[in-house]
């Protein structure tokens, strides 16, 4: 194993946001499944528990948290003073150039590829844009179906979001798309965890632990030089 050093690679804000998004997605999946097909009930007719109300309430709150978290993460990726990392996690030119190399690694055409500070080109060029697209679809279809009060105003969603219904081919289709996203995010989750297992099994560089601690083993030549700004160092 090449010479490696422990580097504080992840900011606690990013770690927190990651886990907020993970837990919120899990809650959204569970509550969404219940709304799709209610599979349990509580209380009696005489003493009812408003199960569906609470489940829907939770779904809406979590949806709001998800939107906020994704927006904050995007904002930080571009404008953070400490770690504006969109080049490391998004489809930057550097990533696009290195995509064939990374793909050929996963297709067993080659056995190693370059060191990447955060995500590799396959993830940053393919998975991340797809995931953002799916977030967008989830948010739009969700708002289109949501009728109620937000920002202290009762919304008439047909007036506000009628175009979403048109875009997705009608109201029922919009609902179906929102439900498909449950399966799609499940797929993305499975792929994400698998790729990280694959990577950590090979590198033993504390990737999983770094999602809590932020510290990870990095080849010495890529370790940041003390005092240099993050951006300088990467170039």
């Amino acid at each position: 194993m090449a010479d490696r050093v422990l580097v504080k690679q992840r900011n606690w804000v990013y770690i927190l946001l990651h886990w907020i998004i993970v837990s919120v997605l899990a809650i959204l999946a569970f509550t969404g499944l219940y709304i799709h097909r209610p599979f349990f009930t509580m209380g009696t007719e005489a003493d009812p528990v408003m199960v569906m109300s609470w489940i829907r309430w939770t779904h809406f709150i979590c949806a709001a948290i998800l939107i906020e978290s994704v927006l904050i993460r995007l904002e930080l990726a571009f404008f953070s003073h400490f770690d504006a990392d969109w080049r490391d996690i998004g489809p930057s030119r550097k990533m696009l150039k290195a995509l064939p190399e990374a793909l050929s690694f996963y297709l067993f055409a080659r056995n190693d590829h370059r060191y990447w500070r955060k995500l590799n080109p396959v993830k940053s060029v393919i998975l991340v844009p797809l995931e953002l697209l799916f977030y967008l679809i989830a948010i739009l279809t969700g708002f289109a179906m949501f009728e109620g009060t937000f920002f202290w105003r009762t919304t008439d969603t047909v007036v506000l979001f009628g175009w979403v219904y048109d875009l997705f081919g009608g109201q029922q289709s919009t609902r179906n798309w929102h439900y498909y996203l449950f399966w799609i995010f499940l797929m993305i989750g499975v792929i994400h965890v698998y790729l990280n297992i694959l990577r950590t099994a090979r590198q033993r560089d504390m990737t999983f632990r770094s999602m809590l601690s932020g510290w990870r083993l990095v080849p010495r030549k890529y370790a940041p030089i003390k005092g240099a700004s993050q951006r300088k160092k990467r170039e």
Partner: protein, 355 residues
């Protein structure tokens, strides 16, 4: 204007209309004045195209005011081929005269046949010609029923006659849609009164429906909503849950998707409505409900798969297939990776890394 109803009943009508339009009771005198001052009662042309005449039937069931009051006193129904006494050339003449005089309200029931124009002709003219000719000079066009609003059941795939809503033919901004299968009499009357009162179309949503009636969903005012909220659902017809009047959500009720004032206005002289008598809503007020919401007894009906014409399948099936395929793909990749030794710690991975 001489009304066949008592002053008291007339004011009740005005009060009911004010409530429907979401106006305060302070508006009642103004509504009364609008109806009274329509001294020459507004001429109305009722065009019936591809449809079942159910909307006219529904209007005939209007309780308050009854059909006689509406036809004889509130409006001047100059042309309605289903109800009118004259026939043939004399009937057509009254249409021509009304069109020539102008300032009339056109009510359209039934879809316009555009694909096979001969499928719908009156007096030798196709429905498209008639609708374009008549609506061009009218003051307002009200489409009653889902057929004239959005095409209706005859527009169901594959739509052999090319049935279209009136809005699609003459322009969506020129019509007021009062959908429903049939349209609700109260909503029809309120829309017309609203037009008489304000001299312009009421506020419409993006589907061309008056927001005073169609801004909220059936679900919002459903009498079974408490059962929905507390998780009490009918699992099958004939069960104990059904006799208790539990929520019909799992029986495919489309109340949560349907914009309509049904639970408030009710039907058949305010006697009952679909969910009240134990059947889930089928969403007849929504565009494309005949394609989109069928089967009516499934929570989330099967949807067509893009690219595969005629193939419909459930989201559950597609979703679980996708996830199974993903897991299988990962399994194969994992086996290949294991064969290549990629799960072992790399001794010379060097810079190699695949976060």
């Amino acid at each position: 204007m001489q009304l066949d109803i008592s002053r008291r009943d007339f004011l009740k009508l005005c009060g009911g209309t004010a409530a429907m339009l979401g106006l305060s009771q302070a508006w009642v005198p103004q509504i009364a004045r609008a109806l009274e001052q329509a001294a020459e009662r507004p001429p109305v042309i009722w065009l019936a195209f591809q449809g079942c005449s159910g909307c006219l039937e529904s209007l005939a069931k209007a309780a308050y005011p009854d059909i006689a009051t509406i036809v004889l006193d509130v409006i001047s129904l100059n042309y309605v081929d289903v109800l009118m006494a004259p026939s043939g050339k004399r009937a057509e003449k009254s249409l021509e005269d009304t069109v020539a005089a102008g300032g009339y309200i056109t009510i359209v029931e039934g879809a316009v046949a555009t694909g096979i124009p001969e499928a719908m002709t009156i007096a030798g003219k196709t429905s498209e010609e008639i609708v374009k000719e008549v609506t061009a000079g009218g003051a307002a066009t009200v489409c009653v029923g889902t057929c004239s609003s959005y095409g209706g059941v005859q527009a169901m795939r594959p739509n052999p006659t090319g049935a279209k809503g009136v809005g699609e033919v003459i322009g969506e901004d020129k019509v007021i849609n009062v959908p429903g299968c049939p349209a609700n009499p109260d909503t029809m009357v309120s829309t017309i009164v609203s037009y008489l009162l304000f001299g312009k179309a009421p506020e419409l949503d993006s589907r061309g429906r008056p927001t005073f009636a169609f801004s909220q969903k059936i679900h919002d005012h459903c009498e079974r909503r408490a059962h929905f909220d507390s998780g009490h659902y009918v699992e099958e017809y004939g069960s104990e849950e059904e006799t208790k009047g539990y929520c019909l959500y799992k029986m495919g009720c489309k109340g949560p998707e349907t914009h309509s004032p049904c639970p408030l206005t009710l039907w058949n002289s305010k006697q009952n409505w679909c969910i009240g008598c134990g059947n889930g809503c089928i969403g007849c007020m929504e565009p494309d409900f005949w394609d989109e919401f069928a089967g009516f007894y499934d929570t989330l009906p099967d949807t067509p798969i893009p690219g595969f014409v005629g193939v419909k399948t459930s989201a559950d099936y597609v979703g679980s297939t996708l996830v199974t395929a993903t897991v299988a793909g990962i399994g194969i990749h994992a086996i290949a990776s294991a064969a290549k030794g990629r799960f072992k710690e790399a001794d010379d991975a060097g810079e190699g890394s695949d976060d």
